[in-house]
């Protein structure tokens, strides 16, 4: 029986070095194996150079299928970073346009007498889909914020006794005076409505989106 110049495998399960073979054979059991680079033989038995290009693009063999060329990797890196750069530029352009758009028209909310100290009234500004709250903190102090919680747009409820807006959906809290988040999931402050006092009437004159 020829040996073909390699170490013969002893198949007896109790031979030295093979104790505990009930599990898996230790990896150093066999001589190191070289992974075959190209094992595919095309169905027409011609060499791979004579094969159509798609056969190289869709290889059957795992090593070729997983192989990533340096050029492909570089292409991926360049295109991905280019996409991120374009995205940043797009955000910048959007911000620039948003700043240039005019503030919404001035709208009368209420007269000073209609809101008690510590009380609040709701209104919509700049359109009917944007509910807002006007809160009278003291005799002379008014604040107004958009009612949409910055977490998931639930309607916040003012709690002047606690000095906060409360969002019942996820127990979010915002400061009553500034609108900054103090507890819960929200991370951005509420949209501030810029107010103006003209005589005895309170007017909304602008919207301040904050981050």
């Amino acid at each position: 029986m020829t040996d073909h110049g390699r170490e013969r495998l002893d198949v007896r399960i109790d031979s030295p070095g093979r104790e505990g073979l009930a599990g898996t054979t230790p990896a150093n059991m066999y001589r190191p194996l070289q992974e075959a680079e190209q094992v595919t033989i095309a169905p027409d038995w011609r060499p791979m150079e004579d094969q159509p290009a798609w056969r190289n693009d869709f290889p059957i063999d795992w090593p070729q299928d997983h192989y990533v060329e340096r050029r492909d990797f570089m292409k991926f890196m360049v295109l991905t970073s280019a996409a991120f750069t374009m995205g940043q530029l797009w955000i910048g352009v959007q911000n620039w346009y948003r700043k240039r758009t005019a503030q919404p028209p001035v709208q009368r909310i209420a007269s000073v007498d209609e809101v008690a100290v510590g009380g609040s009234i709701g209104f919509t500004y700049p359109n009917e889909f944007e509910p807002c709250l006007l809160v009278r903190l003291t005799t002379s102090e008014f604040v107004a914020f958009g009612q949409k919680c910055t977490h998931l747009s639930c309607a916040v409820i003012p709690r002047p006794t606690e000095g906060s807006f409360h969002c019942p959906c996820h127990e979010g809290r915002f400061d009553l005076r500034t609108g900054v988040p103090t507890a819960g999931p929200p991370r951005r402050p509420l949209t501030r409505i810029v107010l103006e006092l003209r005589g005895q009437d309170i007017f909304a004159v602008g919207v301040e989106e904050r981050t």
């Binding site: 495998l9 002893d10 054979t25 990896a27 194996l33 059957i60 063999d61």
Partner: protein, 218 residues
Amino acid sequence: MPKPDYLHFFIDPNRCIGCQACVQACTECDTHRGESMIHLEFIDRAHSVQTVPVVCMHCEQPTCAEVCPADAIKRTGDGVVQSARKPRCIACGNCVIACPFGVPEVYEDRQIMMKCDMCYDRTSVGKKPMCATVCPSQALFFGTREEVEQLRPMSTPVNRFQFGRQTISTRVFMMLPSDTVTQRPYVDVTAAMSEQPRERAITLTPVENADPFAEVEL
């Protein structure tokens, strides 16, 4: 870790006794969820009880992978054609129609093709596939070429199959009587299927004083 390249799978159909042990052993394995990947086929059920175990032959030109539209059937560097990749397989059944040996099966309930992968979890660490461990007549034999030469002196392993104009070489060997192989070193499957029994007949000469279950001296 790849399958050791000096261990091969040898199928000796004329030793098959149809006991279904391979099917049961394959069914018990968890890696393909209780389905048997080995098929035990009757050759000519009307006239004979002869059966043949059908495992994946692991073609060097895998037709199943050639026809796969989803690129799901891949072969590892050691020449083992693996079962369909789960994220890619669309269970279209092209491989089932294309495979000349009739090995792959589509499981509609789990939307995947599963086929024999020569028990890759076992063979890649040098163990025998499940079916080869249980086969009582060793019609399914997994080992070195030297072992099989010693065990089957009248047979020669053949790994070329002719399907009409398609020639396929495989990683799994079929044991054929040596005198047949000297005439024709491949299996002409379509000729064997033809109704005229011109090339079908294979004569077996019994070996004198041979112990069929003799252990190989290593």
